[in-house]
């Protein structure tokens, strides 16, 4: 048997064995992050962001007030808050990944079969335009196209997203698929003096979990409105 024979046989056996093993054991595939995931207080490791001198306390306060406004009026929250939720349903299909926290009516899509939509035609959104590819067993998600003011814009550790923000997330399954590690790296030449990286670790909830089918967020609930207040009342956007 030549070396080529052996290479072909070994490669074929590895492919067949790998597929059969995954199917028979029911073990989660390292390349499928689907599941119901919970983020607990011990799942966050967030260092302080290094901000540019131009980012003043007044700017940070304005974004914080706008965040309250977005929550008060039940607006789509978007990234990063959409990933900072108690329970998230993540479903990975052949061409896209769907991510929906229980606390929002507006989900997030990550596309596996295309590049970024041209900025000429993309309508900026609270979660931006996300595309992903696998590097080994790590899913690398690249996001641009954020709306500068819509949704909750403040970023854990400091700073905020703008229309110039770029986010790279690295998803990895740990502990036999029971933990999902997501490393977030934010860059923005108008906000951060260095890339801002932090990590969340989500725990897998039972497969039989039944998500609460979206919370009833009612902007006309007067008691709720009075509780939250509106520190940044509506202002028409400049066009």
């Amino acid at each position: 048997m030549t070396i080529l024979h052996r290479i072909v046989l070994i490669a074929s056996a590895l492919v067949i064995t790998g597929a059969a093993t995954a199917a028979q054991t029911g073990q989660p595939s390292p390349r499928d992050i689907s599941g119901f995931w919970a983020l607990f207080s011990d799942g966050k490791k967030v260092p302080p962001a290094k901000l540019l001198p131009r980012v003043t306390k007044a700017m940070l306060d304005l974004h914080a007030r706008q965040d309250v406004h977005a929550i008060r009026w039940c607006n789509p929250i978007g990234l990063p808050m959409i990933m900072d939720s108690a329970a998230i349903d993540i479903r990975q299909g052949p061409t896209a990944i769907f991510m929906a926290p229980e606390s929002s009516l507006v989900p997030r899509y990550v596309y596996l079969n295309r590049k970024h939509v041209s900025a000429d035609i993309y309508d900026p959104s609270t979660s931006g335009d996300s595309v992903a590819s696998w590097e080994g067993d790590t899913l690398v998600v690249d996001t641009i196209g954020f709306h500068p003011t819509h949704g909750v814009t403040s970023i854990p550790g400091g700073g905020f997203r703008t229309d110039k923000t770029h986010l790279v997330e690295r998803y990895r399954l740990l502990q036999n698929g029971e933990v999902l590690s997501v490393q977030f790296t934010w860059t923005d030449p108008t906000v951060f003096s260095a890339p801002h990286t932090y990590e969340f670790r989500y725990r897998r909830l039972p497969a039989t979990y039944e998500p609460v089918s979206t919370w009833p967020c009612d902007p006309y609930d007067q008691t709720r409105a009075e509780f939250l207040g509106d520190p940044a009342p509506f202002r028409a956007e400049k066009r």
Partner: protein, 261 residues
């Protein structure tokens, strides 16, 4: 054997870009549902109201009629979550189109997944769960893992209910109960107990989708109420638009004056 090795290498190399550019219509089985769709008006009815008028009207029982009339009175009330006034308006007389925009009303909780409108709809297909997400709010979880419906006495009704799916003869069949009471297309009504069966049929070329609806409830219907919606697959490169509606924006509540005819 050298040739076999080269073929194997080429297969591995070729697989990467192929996977990266998967077209949903090229998928097989239930995965053919994956992707982006938009409802169409195949009969040239002009609007979805006109389209619904071509469906066979629901045959309601006396109890069903009473429930629907009560529900319509409630829906027509001047206050409540975001509602659209469907009444006819005289030219030149201004009226408010939506009294409470962007609320947690009819669009919340995936109701548009039960009754899609002109917004896009998006499917993400996983072996354990299919996501059915209408563009203008909410989403449906369709469980494919063999679970049963919950006991309705312990279920809080939602706009899209509780859905479980299975494959039958190459078609996705979805069974739903636990939906909040409300109107059903073509003169129907539903309660938490009403059962909806949907059959999702993708055309052989993967570019057309038909959803067949069947509502069953012996308390409300004299016979099952059936109709279907049709959809086209959106072009490659389409993506889910974010439906932005800010209830604090005064423009959302501006009145409209119908023009003279």
């Amino acid at each position: 054997m050298r040739n076999a090795a080269i073929v194997l290498l080429l297969m591995v190399v070729a697989a990467a870009p192929t996977m990266a550019q998967t077209k949903p219509e090229s998928l097989t089985g239930v995965e053919r549902l994956e992707g982006d769709w938009v409802r169409i008006d195949p009969n040239g009815s002009g609007d979805f109201g006109g389209l619904a008028s071509t469906f066979t009207p629901a045959s309601l029982t006396p109890q069903g009629n009473a429930a629907m009339e009560a529900g319509q009175r409630q829906a027509a009330a001047p206050r409540g979550p975001a509602f659209t006034e469907n009444a006819r308006h005289d030219p030149g007389v201004p009226y408010i189109v939506v009294s409470r925009p962007c609320g947690a009303g009819p669009f919340g909780g995936g109701a548009l997944g039960i009754n899609p409108d002109s917004g896009g709809i998006h499917f993400v297909v996983h072996k354990d769960e299919i996501i059915f997400a209408p563009e203008r709010g909410g989403f449906r979880h369709i469980y494919m893992d063999g679970r049963k419906h919950p006991d309705l006495t312990r279920w809080t009704p939602t706009a899209s209910g509780h859905s479980v799916g299975r494959m039958e003869n190459g078609e996705l069949v979805v069974d739903t109960i636990g939906i909040t009471p409300g109107l059903v297309t073509a003169g129907g009504w539903r309660t938490v107990e009403t059962r909806l069966t949907e059959r999702f049929v993708v055309s052989p070329d993967g570019k057309h989708l038909t959803i067949n609806y069947r509502w069953e409830d012996p308390a409300l219907y004299q016979k099952p109420h059936e109709y279907h919606y049709e959809f086209d697959r959106l072009p490659a490169g389409s993506y889910a638009l974010e439906y932005w509606c800010d209830a604090s924006d005064p423009a959302e509540q501006e009145s409209v004056t119908p023009p003279s005819q």
